[in-house]
Symmetry: D2
Subunit: 436 residues, 4 copies
């Protein structure tokens, strides 16, 4: 849980400043609701697997976050709408009461969708009141938590899109989230190039000169030695991944880590999630409906194990976090984020820069070869907010760069996303690396 920058503490918290925060608050809160606008009431209720939450749960949980960490501690006379919500919408904060069991979120018809929206309005009114009359003594802490709460809500906006996709994908009626998504550009993918990086000591982790905000898990900035390596100029495409499939990639144990091979056999994986073959042609389900697989777009909805197996098949490997971050630093981004409204990775706009990688940010989260572990000197925040990131540092792999479902102002090159190595429902792809 990242403190705002030091500067903030010294700033005068004048009314102009807090008004900006209020506007940002309102903009981000509205975005969550507009993402849900295409849903039917019934869609809000479904939990299609343990990892997925019903959309109405997301909408309520992000509001609970403001209630639990801002309104209750800082807004005088605040009255929760329903005291039971503190139990129902606590996701995983064990030190803040007992969270409602995650796999049972889909068993709750109440509060209804309408009541959840009423809860949001209640929280929004109270947050407006808090920001309109910022208590001087806690002003810095409040704004820091508002900033965290808004990043938290943006994370859940991406989760909403991931979960809605998964929910609709279970349905044999093949419902379509939106019919009016922006069409993919008709470009062809650029040829893959290998970009050289020299060996040396690098600084890894949040650089406050570049990014005002960062999560606790991106800190502290520290030194790492990176041996010379090469990084691919772009992510692996669907067309390339099809070669792997056709070369028996899913049937050859020597290409897989042991856990990955168990998973392939047990879950009968034979292609990325949402792919299906019909009459020899591969199609995939997107938020805009079923489409033929676009050979030029980056492959997405693959697990770490599939990325790792592909890399082994291709005689390469996945980059480490430090390599990825080193390579991404200073590269100009024109990424495909949620605002571009594709909600699906597309071919990169060719870069003007010579020898610069494309799509480091946007399109697909890129699996790295690094397990999600703390940086040397890592510290969690005191209190329940210390559970935000740190407690998941086992059994997960790091992904970098954001995706087509990420808000553009939510992500940065030092951002560490993480999922278990078999997870596929995120917009996750990968980029190859190899020894120099």
């Amino acid at each position: 849980m990242p403190p705002l920058t030091q500067q903030l503490e010294e700033e005068t918290l004048d009314s102009r400043h807090t008004k900006e925060w209020l506007r940002r608050y309102q903009r981000i809160r509205e975005t969550s609701e507009s993402l849900c606008a295409p849903l039917h009431t019934e869609d809000y209720v479904i939990q299609s697997m343990d990892d997925v939450s019903p959309p109405k749960w997301h909408l309520a949980h992000v509001s609970w976050f403001f209630e639990a960490f801002l309104l209750i501690p800082f807004l005088k006379h605040y009255r929760p709408l329903d005291p039971a919500y503190d139990f129902l919408f606590n996701s995983y904060y064990e030190t803040h009461g007992t969270p409602f069991p995650r796999p049972e979120r889909g068993a709750l018809s109440r509060p209804t969708v309408e009541e959840v929206y009423r809860y949001r309005a209640h929280v929004d009114r109270s947050m407006t009141e808090l920001l309109d009359h910022l208590p001087e003594e806690h002003g810095g802490e409040i704004l820091r938590r508002v900033e965290l709460g808004l990043h938290h809500e943006q994370q859940h906006q991406e989760l909403l899109l991931m979960d809605i996709k998964h929910i609709l994908a279970q349905n044999p009626l093949c419902p379509i989230y939106r019919h009016d998504l922006a069409p993919a550009p008709p470009q062809a993918a650029a040829a893959l190039e290998w970009l050289d990086h020299a060996a040396g000591i690098r600084l890894v982790g949040q650089n406050p000169d570049v990014d005002r905000f960062a999560y606790d898990n991106e800190m502290p900035r520290h030194r790492e030695f990176v041996e010379a390596f090469q990084l691919a100029s772009r992510p692996v495409t669907n067309g390339e991944f099809l070669h792997f499939i056709r070369d028996g990639g899913y049937e050859r144990p020597e290409l897989w880590l042991s856990d990955g091979w168990q998973q392939v056999k047990q879950a009968r994986w034979h292609a990325p999630l949402y792919w299906l073959e019909r009459d020899g042609e591969w199609r995939y389900m997107t938020l805009g409906g079923q489409k033929p697989v676009d050979h030029h777009a980056p492959v997405v909805h693959v697990s770490f194990h599939e990325a790792d197996a592909y890399a082994r098949w291709a005689g390469a490997r996945l980059p480490s976090e430090a390599e990825w971050e080193t390579a991404a630093a200073g590269v100009e981004s024109s990424g495909n984020f949620v605002e571009r409204d594709h909600l699906q990775p597309v071919v990169a706009v060719p870069s003007n820069a010579l020898k610069a990688p494309t799509q480091m940010l946007g399109d697909v989260w890129e699996w790295t070869g690094s397990a999600y572990r703390p940086y040397p000197g890592f510290r969690t925040l005191p209190g329940s907010l210390g559970e935000y990131n740190g407690k998941f540092m086992s059994g997960q792999m790091v992904l970098r760069g954001g995706c087509c479902a990420t808000p553009a102002d939510h992500v940065r090159t030092t951002y560490r996303n993480f999922f278990p190595p078999h997870a596929r429902w995120a917009f996750s792809g990968f980029r190859l690396a190899r020894e120099a």
Copy 2:
């Protein structure tokens, strides 16, 4: 699957006759919808355990039954609203395509509730057309299937109430289905008497002189020898069951069948379903909200294993099917069915009859000691309708008499209901028997 009575075949299927059927069709179909009227859209979507189906699934499935077994075979030019519904709303007819997996019914947000009601209207219009212009050659078969379809829908009306209760019970917000249910009468339970029955050969199974309609599993009427026995004059009450609990009933393995004891330990049963103890007082959840346990009303939501253990504790046993049916024959009924609008068992109105049992019909389904197996000479119907009852004849126990959630004109003394011995979400209670 029960043919209508023989008489029907000889009747002239005149317009007056079919109009009666149409009225009956409309009445029963409307009842299903009025049972769902108190629900919010979200409540229709939940599957709170594998045995439970989302209410909207019930509403669609009973319509599918008419579509699959009447409209498609008999209504010329009939067009299904959506061909996928044939797959989605087939419950378990393996010989009629592949049923959609039962545990995943709760993963479907579409069709929406509104679309399901549209489906019902579509089926209703077509059924009206079919009944308005009954094709002469198949008239008898059509009316037989209409009758079956309506009994099928009535069964699902009871399931709807069972499932709604279970769905709402999962929710820590304790939602209440209806605030305006009929209040329980303030009577005390009558003292339990033992009614004698002599040994002899009895006729068991549907008696067409009494009941025009019966399911296939109630046939054929046949002879059974019943040894002399005594049957309790009324079901076991909550107050009596509390004595069992307080006497350590749930902690004494010698009172339980082996399977029952495993279940008690594994599921940590310590009282009937929906009961909870708070500050030494027992309460239970009803469709009208949480209430103190009524000591005088019949105990409900107990499994066969609990009924069997109680009976052993009480030095008695459960009656066999033949004993129950023998004792129920000719007894006047003023049962508490769904029309009484308690939706909870209540104390019986005292019977005027000397030495006659009360509540044989209504209030609670009564567990018998008989496994659900075919009668000698049992035959299933040809075709998919043969799967209606017969294929469940292993691993289940028979219950008799209907309950407070059963439509009064759906049940009869020969009616054989069945559930696995550990099931508790039906309105199931029991009555004791013992050797003469």
Copy 3:
């Protein structure tokens, strides 16, 4: 738990009488050990599935039975060899301490096989002492328990053979239990005939005029009305069962009860247990090694569900318990029991009797269509021995007649064996019945 006959109570328990019991004790105890003689030490330790127990466990448990129910209560100064055995070798007597968890029997290397044999010798010495100096006051009760204990040991002799077969069958090395089993006679199966039985009231249950001993679950003798029926003259053969397989029997849901069909799909059943097809020829594993399937011998190692599905396919059904017992009464037996040393069902010796069924006793346990439930008036013994049979009366089906692994003097026509409807590792086959 069956009392010895009334006569016994009046007998003088003279020394001659108890010596006979001692000889019987010694003979039966030795038989258990000789059944294990072909085993290697390692074979004694394996638990190949939860239902199977390691052979050394069987050898110890039957000794524990004598220790717990005879030596400790009745032999003065008796000292258990190891007090922990009372916990380790209690099978399921919940009222006699806490049984060691069944699925973990295969996790125990100690006591070693040698120690188990030492335990047997210890119990045998003490039992000899008890029988040599029978305490007068408890003499009747002691002999009744000895009789029960010996029948119990005989049941475990059959279980030993079932379990040894299952244990060896898991092993890709295909170990053979014995190379010197009696060869099957080269006869052909007799043509199947349907034998008529008239309707009427029958007496069912132990007839003390015929069988001195019976288990509690065979009592009391009582009246049942049996409608007219026909019973097949012999069990279904392997050859006949092959027709069912080749006619798609395992692929047609309409032939199966719902539970059976779930089991077929989940466990991928496609033939009886121990069968395998190689190059179009069917073979099965026997205690004498792998053999080609004998078309003339009764089919064995089928579940109730397979028997039931076959019967439906054949336009017949399984007999009820009462039908089977009615038909078996008074039929001369020359059954194939364990003493014939085939340890596999074989073709029946043709009967001289006109219109009499063959193989009612011996060869294969015959699944009936009756669920295992108590007879009217059933009573368990007081104390822990009451758990012997009664507590399993849910979820199981009755089998009748004994098999090629049963001691001939252990079984009788009223004997009720029982297994869950999916169990196949017993020597279970079936015989058809149909309406008259």
Copy 4:
């Protein structure tokens, strides 16, 4: 799979040299058998959990390794004792046929223990023949594989002790592996000191100048930047761990990673494996029987999650691999390995060296904070031996330093052991680190 050092390739493979290898072969092979000498035949057969293998399986599998990778490819006219062993004793080499399913190793009574020893003798004779007449052209490769095979066998010697301990621990009879183990020295643990390490670039991975042999996963030697840190002078002791327990360590979610906390709740962990509390005193099960917990000895049989939670409780953390290896380099070792015959960690002999850590090698494997992932530039061997280490590089954490059950000449400071973060049956403890 580590090549022998480069020097070897240039050596003359003279007879003296290969005789040394033969002696080493014989010595290590004999050690495996002497470790099993205290077992009863029955002990060899048990698989007490999926992770454990029956001791006879270990004895056979290590022989299979020599057969599959040396005798079949290199010894002319070699005839396997039984062709089925290639399937039964292949542990996990997917590219070498289909391995027998791991969880079913405990279902195999055959080959018997005697046959396994015969198999060992067969392999040993053939290996002697191979080494006696080393084929010149493959001499280097053969010796490299012999070296690997012997290290492999030494790994399984430790696994044998781990598994035997687990097998005996399941048994309520509390069998004791050996009564004659070396007693623990009566010393008290030295006070914990924090040893400083400066920041800088370090070389990590096998240093061929120090260790002639290493596994593939220790290579290549490469540069890492290590920030300044402090390392504890000795592992955490039982006494210290008891403070954690008594301070509610197992009940406070804020001390645990999320996965760890799930595990604590689900498996009801409340102390290290093999500990039990009786009358307020803590005891643990050792290979020499149950003992009171020695407060001065290093804690053992804790998972990564327990180590991590303890460290958080203590305001410290676990060292990274690079930190541990940096600190261990050049430290004199007098570790407690299997040859000391304690088979349990003991108090360290105080070091003479000023400011040097004790017990870096021996006593307990030390959990690090590093996930088990490949070093930059890591390569697996071609062929099936490539599966030796590399394919397990997901979901596991690294442990360092060997333990009281490790052969002294098997381990080194660069050795990377690995287990899943919840595993506890290894002799695993930990040492604290913290920021400088």
